[in-house]
Structures are given as C-alpha cells and as structure tokens.
C-alpha cells in the first residue's frame, strides 16, 4: 500500500461520508458545512490527480463562493420558528433504489472495461499542464470560443441573479 493509495482511500472515505451527511442531515446549516468538507475532499483528490490548478480553483469557486452563497441563502430563507419539519420526501426509498441501481450499473460497466486498471503515465519532461491549459483556452484553433461563451454565460448569470433577486418595493 503506497502512501498515495492510503491517502486516496482516506480522503475518498471522508468525502463520501460527508456527502452522505449532506443529503441526510435535517439541519440545513450543518448540511452546508458538510458540503464544504465534501468540496474540500474533492479538491484534495484533484491534487492527487496532479491538476493543482483545479484544486485551488475548486477551493476558490466552490468553497469560497458557492458554499458561502448557499449559507447566505439558507440563513435568509429560514422561518422564524425553528421547525424544519421532515426534510426528506415520503418517496425516499424509491430514490435510494434508483441511486443504488445507477451506482451498480456504473460499477459493472467500469469493471468490464479494459482500460480500467490503467496507471498514469508520468508527464514528459518540460510538460506543464498549467501552461498548456492557458494556451488552449486562448488559442483561436483550440478552445477560445467555448471560453468566451462561458464568460458571456457568467455575465448573463450575474445580471440574471441581480434582476431576479431585486427587491421591487
């Protein structure tokens, strides 16, 4: 068991446990904090995948913005009486069965796939994935157009969120 495998098993166990707590806990703010732990675990996995940029981007975007936005939304939409009521649908057994079936199917297909046990090839010397990503995002013959469209999407979301949440008093 190499140290990397130990780290992976530990981190993935904590992340999946936290994700389970997110979907089952009744207290919404606690759920948001468990979500932060899940997102942090995923960031550590990105580091293990040698995608360091994505690890820090995950922390900045998800934990630093999205999780805080969710906490604000939860705090702004609580009723005065602290009675959350049943937080889970009456049809939750069907949902659990669907989730388990989907998981089983994916695992079955992964195990039957030839390349499932592949190991990562080391990067060739001088290969900097960060630099290549930067070049790919702004090269006209690579991914410039999706990049620009994503920025327009963010602008539209920004304007949309402001307009929707505007308090027309």
């Amino acid at each position: 068991m190499s140290p990397l495998q130990v780290i992976f098993i530990l981190v993935s166990a904590i992340t999946l446990g936290a994700a389970l707590m997110v979907v089952t806990t009744r207290n919404m703010v606690r759920a948001a904090l468990w979500l932060v732990l899940t997102l942090f675990g995923v960031a550590i996995l990105f580091v293990l995948l040698e995608a360091g940029f994505f690890a820090v981007a995950q922390v900045i975007i998800y934990i630093g913005a999205i999780a805080i936005l969710m906490i604000f939304a939860i705090m702004l939409t609580r009723r005065i009486a602290h009675d959350p009521g049943p937080q889970i649908n009456a049809t939750w057994p069907i949902a659990a069965v669907i989730a388990l079936v989907v998981f089983g199917l994916i695992v079955f297909f992964v195990q039957g796939w030839g390349k499932a046990a592949s190991q990562p090839a080391p990067f060739p010397a001088g290969f900097d994935p960060l630099r290549e990503l930067g070049v790919a995002l702004v090269s006209a013959n690579q991914y410039l157009i999706p990049f620009e469209i994503a920025s327009i999407l963010l602008l539209a979301a920004l304007i949309g969120a402001i307009v929707i949440a505007w308090d027309k008093k």
Partner: protein
C-alpha cells in the same frame, strides 16, 4: 554556515535513510517535520507580534505602551496568554457547539497555511506549487467561511450581522486584490511565488505601483482593519462576530488577526518588494530570511500606520469605493500592463521598467483628474446653501383655533 536550514534538513534525511525507510515515507516524514517547524515558528512570531502591536499603537498615540513586564515590556504577551488561558470558557446557550469551537481554529489555521507558499529565502520555501498566487486567494476564501461559522454559531443577532458585514466586505475586496496579484504574475510570467521573487531584479513596486497600492488597500479590507473595521466597530456592534468568544478562543481570533496582518505584510514584500532579495542573499540564504522578515515587518508597520491614522468608513461608502473605483481602476491597469508586456517582448529590461512605470504614472494622472472632478461635485452638493422651503399656510380667520 551559509544555509543552516538546508544543512539541518539534509542531516535529518541522512539519519532517516540510515534507518532504512523507503523514500516515499522519508519524504512524508520530512514534509511533516517541515510543517511542524514552519507552523511552530510562525506561531512563536505571533506572540512577539502582540508586543509589537501594543508598542506601535502606543507610540502612534503618543504614549509609551507596556513597559513594566521585562525589559521594554517584552514579557507582556506572555502575561496576556496566561490571562487568556485562565479565563472561563463560556458557550452561549443555543449555540451549535461543534461549529462554535471549530470557527476560531479554522480562522487561525487558514492564516498559518498561507506560510506554506511564501519563499523565505532562495532555498527555504514550504512548497513550490506552480499556482502559489491562486493558493493565497483560495485560503483567503476559506477564511471568510470561518467568520460566517463564528457569527452563526454564536446564536447572537449582533454576531450574525457583524459576520455578514465582514464577509460582504471581504469578498468584495477580494476582487481588486486578486487582480492586483495578477499583475506581478504577468510581469514574472509565472504564478509560483518562488518564481515571482526570483524574477524581481527590479522590485515590482517600481514596475507596478498602482497594483501595489490597490493590493495594500485590499489587504487592509481583508484584514478587517481600520479604516475598514465595520465589523469590529466597538461603538456600534460591540465586537462583531467574535462577541461571544471568551478566553483562549478569543485569543485565537486575536492572534489570527495579528498573524494575518504580518502574513499580508510578507505577501506584499514577496509580490512587490522583492521578497528575500537583497545584497548577498543568493550566496548566503540565511541573509534572505533576514531581509524577508525586515520587509514583512516594515509592511506590517505600514498596515498598522494606516489603521491608527484613519477613521472608519461606512459600509456603503466602502462597497462603493470597492466596486466603482478600485475594480475599474485595477482592471484598466491589468489590461494596459498585459498589452504593454506583449508589445515589449524583446525590449531590454531597463526600457521595460521605465515604460511600465510611465504607464502607471499616466493612469494615475487620469485617475487624479477623475477623482478631483468627482470630489468637486460632491463638495458642491454639500456646500451650496439649499433654498429653504418655507410653507406659509394661510389660515382662515377663525380665532377660536389654537395655533
């Protein structure tokens, strides 16, 4: 003994190899040792910072500061720590215990882990990740989470309000601060802090003074220090998000705040003042550590100087200033720096430096004109005597009405 840190590190590693461990486990153990040493060292400096803060604020306020305990009051922080440890730990009723206790730990931890990427000398750096500048932003984002946790878990309206205001201020000022960090990244062509320091043959404060000032303002707001200390406004909402914290938990918040200030001083020194660079720092790395701490302490003193000289600003003034002035300004500087950097690819370095400096001065001139016009308009709004509306109501002549 030019490089004691590397010397000790290699000696320890040779011991571990002698015990016959595999190289993977050796790197893990050395990494853990490095974490302990760096974290412990930073916390020890933190205790010293309490003394520095109280002496400096005293001198700014024309008094002496603590001078009874030990020579020049140097043992005062130890007395402070003992006092905080002996205080009663009160948990407010209805507070979420786990989150309540986690918040100060997280607040201090996010400051300590910032030191992992700051290069202390040419050979001493915690971790040379190639996204160091982005890592700093990410850790700042976790810091805002700690504040929300503290505010919410205290089960106190004032704490929650203080936490909301503080978080709004922090995430607003993160935007110009991040863009100001991008400018040294463009100039150094790398996000790794070690590379940024290594390419500062001319300090970046000369190449990008506006970015340096915007970073300083953003740092002042991130730290929650005056003039941006809405959340700690003692006369308004008592102590903001750490109202309900007593004893050592408050001590963690307080120490975290001071250490955060020194860390931002260190970051300013790394990005704009050349980090560990100085005379002879490449051949004698121990000198590099010394230069770095001198620069970091100097910037910490500048941050304190700003704090103890300015009055507080209102939250709407603060947010207006951020979104309507700082963000467009720093975006303009970023665009012009990027364009000039691309246009001057093959140009000798001294011309590059002068052109960058000149462009910054030109932008500063235009900003000065625009701000002057705005200030004149604001002054006219306040200064012109308003015509007083006097409503004469003509009463009908019924004398029985008491008027």
């Amino acid at each position: 003994m030019a490089d004691p840190v590397t010397f000790i590190g290699q000696w320890l590693e040779s011991i571990l190899v002698g015990w016959g461990l595999s190289s993977a486990w050796i790197s893990v153990i050395m990494g853990a040792l490095g974490v302990l040493v760096l974290g412990g060292g930073v916390l020890l400096v933190d205790i010293f910072l309490v003394w520095v803060e109280r002496k400096v604020v005293a001198r700014f306020q024309d008094r002496l500061g603590p001078n009874r305990l030990g020579p020049f009051g140097l043992f005062q922080p130890i007395a402070d720590v003992i006092k905080l440890l002996l205080k009663e730990n009160i948990t407010p009723q209805g507070a979420d215990k786990f989150v309540y206790n986690l918040a100060p730990i997280l607040a201090l931890a996010t400051v300590i882990i910032l030191w992992a990427v700051i290069p202390l000398s040419v050979t001493v750096v915690g971790s040379t990740i190639n996204v160091g500048a982005l890592y700093i932003v990410a850790v700042g984002a976790i810091g805002t989470l700690a504040i929300i946790m503290a505010g919410w878990a205290s089960n106190n309206k004032y704490a929650l309000l203080g936490a909301f205001r503080m978080v709004a201020q922090m995430i607003s000022y993160e935007v110009p601060m991040v863009i100001a960090i991008l400018i040294p990244v463009i100039l150094a062509k790398s996000m790794s802090l070690a590379d940024i320091v290594a390419s500062q043959s001319v300090w970046y404060i000369v190449l990008a003074p506006i970015a340096a000032v915007v970073f300083l303002i953003g740092a002042q707001a991130e730290l929650g220090r005056a003039p941006f200390d809405l959340s700690e406004a003692e006369s308004e909402i008592v102590a903001g998000f750490h109202i309900e914290y007593t004893g050592m938990k408050f001590g963690l918040f307080y120490a975290g705040e001071l250490l955060h200030a020194l860390t931002f001083g260190g970051l300013f020194a790394t990005f704009f003042l050349g980090g560990w660079r100085g005379w002879g720092a490449e051949t004698y790395p121990i000198l590099g550590i010394g230069y770095f701490f001198v620069k970091a302490m100097f910037m910490y003193w500048v941050i304190m100087w700003i704090k103890y000289s300015f009055p507080r600003v209102r939250i709407d003034q603060m947010l207006n200033f951020c979104w309507k002035f700082l963000t467009p300004l720093i975006l303009t500087v970023l665009s012009i720096t990027a364009i000039l950097d691309k246009l001057m690819s093959g140009v000798p370095y001294w011309i590059y430096v002068l052109v960058m400096l000149f462009s910054n001065l030109v932008i500063l001139y235009f900003v000065y004109q625009a701000v002057g016009r705005y200030a004149r308009k604001e002054r006219q709004k306040v200064a012109d005597p308003e015509k007083v509306q006097v409503n004469f109501r003509v009463r009908s002549s019924t004398p029985s009405q008491a008027s």
